[in-house]
Each structure stands twice: as C-alpha cells, then as structure tokens.
Symmetry: C2
Subunit: 196 residues, 2 copies
Amino acid sequence: MNTSIGRPLEFDPNAALEAAMHQFWSKGYKHTTMHDLLGVMNLSKSSLYQAFGGKQQLFRRCIGRYADQFAAQLRQGLTDAPSGRRFIEDFLHSVLKDAGGAPRGCLVMNTASEIGQGEPEIAEDVAHSIERFRAVLQAAVERAQREGDIAPERDARILASYLVSSMSGLKTQAKAGADARTLKGIISVILGALSA
Amino acid sequence: MNTSIGRPLEFDPNAALEAAMHQFWSKGYKHTTMHDLLGVMNLSKSSLYQAFGGKQQLFRRCIGRYADQFAAQLRQGLTDAPSGRRFIEDFLHSVLKDAGGAPRGCLVMNTASEIGQGEPEIAEDVAHSIERFRAVLQAAVERAQREGDIAPERDARILASYLVSSMSGLKTQAKAGADARTLKGIISVILGALSA
DNA sequence: CAAATTATGGACCATATGGTACATATGCGA
DNA sequence: TCGCATATGTACCATATGGTCCATAATTTG
C-alpha cells in the first residue's frame, strides 16, 4: 500500500489520531470543530482531508482507536488481576480517579448519548464497541464464577451488560458533579448485585 | 407583574416552553438551533428573545420544567403504587416503553453528559434536578424499608443515588440500541441489588 | 383620542462552520 | 535530471449560527 512514493508526511498520523481522539473525548463529536482538530493534530486542513477524509470518518477512526485501547486495557487488567472479582472492583473504582477535575466519561457512551440512533454508521461503531467491552467483562464474570465469587448459575452475559450499564451511569454521575463519597456508595451497591 | 398592559402575546408561553423542552430533549442543547426552536415554538425570533432572553436562558427554563414534570410524575407514581418496591420496579421498567424507536434518554442526564462542568449555571441546574429525583427515590426506598422489602439498615440515600445512576446507565444503553431482552436482564440485576 | 407599553416582523451582522479547488512543494524511481 | 506521486498552504465558498436593531402593530390607561 503505502510504498513511500511521493512527498512524505510531515506529521505523525498516529499522534494526530491520538490527539483527535482526546479532543473528541473532551468536547464530543459535533462540538469539536475542524479548527479544534487542526490545532491539536498539528496538520493543515488539506492534510486532514487528504489523510482522514473529513470529520465523520476521522471521528469513526477515533472511536475505533478508543475501543481498541480501552478493550486492551481491560484485558490486560483482567490478566494481571488476582481474581475476576478484584478486577471488577478495580474497574468500577477507576471512576474515582478523574472524578475530581473535569471527568470526560467514556467516549463511546458519550457518543451514544450525543448521537443515539442518528448517524447510523456512528451508532454502529458505538454498538460494536460496547459489545467489545461487554465481552471482556463477561470473561471477568466467568472467571469470578470459576473462582467461586459469583454464583455459577447466573447469566454471565447479562451481568456483563449490567456492568457496562452501571459504569456508564456512574461516569455520568461523575460528570454531573457527584462527590467521591456518593460514587463510592453507588459502587458498593453495584458490586452487591453480583453477590445477590 | 404582568398587568396585561401593551400588546398581548400571540403565542402560548406554556405551549412554547413545552415545545422547546421537547426539542432540546430530542437534539441536545447545542445541537438545537434557534431555527429549530422558532419552528417548533410558533413565535418569531424577536418574541423569543423578548420572552425568554436567549438560548441558554430558555434552555435553563426547559431543564427546570422537565425536572418539575418528572419529579411530579415520580411522586404521583409513588403515591399511587401498591408498594415502594413495586414503584421502583415500575420506574425501571418504564425504560422499556420507548426503547423500540428513538429513545431520547433523560434530558437532565443527557445534559450532564453533553456539558459536564462546562457552563456552570447549567451544571448547577443539572445537579439540582438530579437531587430532586434522588429525593423522591429515597422516599420510595424508605417506604420499601418500612414495608419490609428492603433491609432497614441500608443507607436509603445511597440506594437512591444508585437508582438514579442505574436509570441513567440504562437509558444510555437503550439509546445505544440495546434490545429489550438485554434491558430486562439488566433491570433484574439492578433490582437484585436492593435485596442483597 | 392620545400616550404609554408591550409584541412582532424583518432586515442586518459578525463570526463560525465543514468542505473544496488549485497551485506549489517534496520526495522516489527511472 | 526529470517526471511521477503524494503532501501541504492558501484562498475561497455556501451556509448556518446566535444575536441585535428598529420600525411597526396591538393593546390598555388616562
């Protein structure tokens, strides 16, 4: 494909994509302007259109990148965790990390909230990303079941969806300004549902 | 105040506000344009500025109106319900109602997701609205505790926050396209946490 | 009826928006 | 060295945006 014919890129595509992703993450899809993107990606408008095709295509790649990174991080966390249950606990408690400043939530869930079912391609990306997160969480639940921390007869698929949903709600509460004490309380109730 | 001197209004302020609220609910704050609002509120731009002062002020009144209506609906539901527990169940199951078409979520939570802590006045309105919802849900939890459906030693305040958070997550899942079966599964897990 | 008071219609505005066109620059291979 | 292929900078564009201004219309009060 890219046989390095012609003039070479003057920007780092990977870094540019990463920067764009963070911009979209902070401001949302429509609220992020081309101007914002150019400023943060370190390239000119021509180059952006040449390399990424436009705002929506760029955004879709950012969602994909986000999902890749987040899913990989989850898998790694699960691998490293002493138990499935501990992983799930840490996963939820990670919300407290950035709760103080200006929490950005999750790019995927933010997009679900912003676009819903408008813009079908994006809705598709969102659904697919959620499914990826869910799959990792299901693996965590199944591990916890094998380890005796979650009753084996419970539906791991549903519990994983529950965790996705709970995380989403939690991050929204953080964005709305909930204090750490409240968030911790909510988390303990969420976790309680797994032992019910 | 309004001693009816001067030319009378040609539009119904109440109906206009209601229409604006639904518009913001469907499209979000920034995505809703003046053009959208004028089309749906049945007044001219001059009148909108005269009567409501501009987009942000109008939006804040819409949030207030939404919170009034939703809180009143919750209180009524709780009053009419055969038990606190049943009310909470119905409250969560209400998400399934509009899950088929194009769910709009909750205007307040959508706004939390869209604006976060930017625009402090709006963030303030959001926080205040959430607190109102939480208060009603806390009353429901306390009733369920008196009725023996939730253990009395549990923190009703936290459980109420948990329900707000869970509802928010659930609505986001619906917006993301989750099917009814999945949503029902999540709801049953959410409810399970109350009995834990 | 006239004055006071409020509402409305429509023109106008500065700026922002996402996107395109095209000339020019920069590298690789023959 | 020359041409090909790709990248970049600049100018440009149509439209949308939230908002203001002001002349005019429709009431009530004196």
